[in-house]
Chain length 269, copies 2
Amino acid sequence: MKDTIKKVPGLAVVLVGQRRDSQTYVRNKIKACEEVGIRSLMAELSEECAEDEVLNAVSEFNQDPSVHGVLVQLPLPQHMDEDTILGAVSLQKDVDGFHPLNMGNLALRGREPLFIPCAAKACIELLLRSGIKLKGKNVAVIGRSNVVGLPTTLLLQRHHATVSVVHAFTNNPEDVTRVADIVISAAGVPNLVRGSWLKRGAIVIDVGTNPIEDPSLEHGYYLRGDVCYEEALQVASAITPVPGGVGPVTVAMLLSNTLDSAKRFYGIS
Amino acid sequence: MKDTIKKVPGLAVVLVGQRRDSQTYVRNKIKACEEVGIRSLMAELSEECAEDEVLNAVSEFNQDPSVHGVLVQLPLPQHMDEDTILGAVSLQKDVDGFHPLNMGNLALRGREPLFIPCAAKACIELLLRSGIKLKGKNVAVIGRSNVVGLPTTLLLQRHHATVSVVHAFTNNPEDVTRVADIVISAAGVPNLVRGSWLKRGAIVIDVGTNPIEDPSLEHGYYLRGDVCYEEALQVASAITPVPGGVGPVTVAMLLSNTLDSAKRFYGIS
């Protein structure tokens, strides 16, 4: 793109507050942009700023023709309305794919969303690139968040998997996971999925990234997935680690969505 | 409403073509409107009309302040783009709830759709009014159509059920239905669900309305559900019949959505 039309894709990130994990995620995304030649912009706002300031930042990026993706790092401070702010991101630049119209188009057969949410896209990409066919496969998705569980479920159904969604109110979740060919966990509960929850030979995708405090470490914590990795290794035929599994692929999908958006904007395929 | 503000809710129906089943459905809806005091309007267009004519009819009803619900009877003739036409219905009058933005709001936690699609709402209403709690219940939904299966799944998840979606590519669907506390079938395949597919005591909602040809009958056909009713009766603790089960409740939900829309329009609660 840089060679042919002398333009590069642009990704703008809005970061509100000083959460360490959010700062790390944003840094990783910006670093990834640099590596592949995507221009990155950032608006950093204080924890105490007004909702309007965030909306203004989003609005400026919406109007900037050099920006093709606008991302609001979640979670936002409690005094802000997440729906309002996410709803303000231009549909054409919603590279996270969280806009309700985009989610509706992901859910409805025969329609195409402009963007597939990055974590969901990462899970399915990992499976497909590993040569795993999804059609007719029995998949248990643990967690039904707007950010991961829901779009992953909808995307799996597009690939004709048979999906069961397990959540906090599910009785005996292990009964559901134990018959699944593929288990995708995005519950945010460390070590939730034990070896005994899995069918022998199951494929496990662990989207959980749960910080566990450990004062002896430099950063004061380490990351654990939702899956008890050591136990699952004994039963599963394949499993993604945490960290280093779904996380980096999710960032790659964000870059891919940004590139797609820029191509769409400049009318190149 | 008629007594207090001297207004009545209005429902407009767009019917294209001469399909006998569509004509019957529309007639039932209009009759139901009359029974409860909702004013009904209808635009009848020929099978051969241009897509623009349908769009014009929708647009006129969108602009008519005495109309609070606009409904396009499906299926449309093959030469028309269903997405375009359904997408043209004003969000505020989309009493069928098929607009992708509405569906996205139904899917996303923390958001509220303006309208819940009528068949989905009917299934859940039947369960709740029968005193059946959905939280934590294991529910198998058979079929994933935009009109029934998808919104039913999304609505069940709002009620904290654990949902598995079975469809044409599911291997051994009976393995999924046999562990379900509640089975909702909207597959459009007569007698698909056999007694052996059900757990003893399961609750069965049959959304299928499949016409079976029978020249000896006055109309030339009779209606069959997706469920083998006689077999299911031996196993299930409760089951809805076809006809006379979900169908009339779905029409009632359409009236309810139209009334809600009119209340919203006139600002009364």
